[in-house]
Symmetry: C2
Subunit: 126 residues, 2 copies
């Protein structure tokens, strides 16, 4: 289970490539970035929230990886996003792949501000 | 996005109620504990790994919640489990619900040892 867990709370995202209200586009982005980085998506579940008028609002979703998981939640009304990328290093060191996915998603969302945590999993003192 | 993210790396789990190799039972346990605690499962994706002989091995899965997500990965060969429970407090404080799910899953798995982290999401200094 040893591995790295990258955590970000992103504020006022200005990226326009993928709107924070678009479930399919966000799923495509997240699964694609994992695959492009050499990780192994096994499946994904993304949910579309609707506002009171039935219009697309936030999105919440996870990508289950052979190497662990990615999770994302969006709050389009404020432009905020939370992101988790956890990979374990069971058969090889996947840390660089996790950092690549994480950095590319931050590049896509372009937050004005971010609170970031890095948790070393499966080892004391992490 | 403000909320609490409970993270555990569990070693040598001795709980026998739900074997770490059983995808359906683990999904049922995780979804059920979320629902029983008053959280709102929207969907789940759980994957069964197989060993070289085609026998059930580890399980990896996520439960997507209206309040954020739960993620679990098992390594039955060593009895290890990683667990994440993240809930945001968008419409109400869900921290107690997250702690209840987390505690009940630890009770089910009965680890001999655990490394735990608590990350406050969406607020500086967390």
């Amino acid at each position: 289970m040893n591995g790295i867990h990258l955590i970000a709370d992103l504020y006022r995202c200005g990226g326009t490539a993928v709107p924070l209200t678009q479930r399919e586009a966000l799923e495509h982005l997240c699964v694609g970035e994992c695959r492009d980085a050499g990780l192994t998506p096994l499946g994904a579940y993304f949910h579309q929230f609707l506002d009171e008028d039935g219009e697309a609002a936030g999105v919440t979703g996870t990508v289950v990886l052979a190497e662990s998981h990615l999770a994302i939640h969006t709050w389009p009304e404020s432009g905020d996003v939370t992101l988790d990328v956890y990979v374990c290093n069971f058969s090889r060191d996947n840390s660089d792949r996790a950092r690549l996915v994480y950095r590319r998603l931050l590049d896509a969302f372009q937050p004005e501000d971010a609170i970031e945590h890095e948790v070393v999993r499966g080892r004391r003192g992490g």
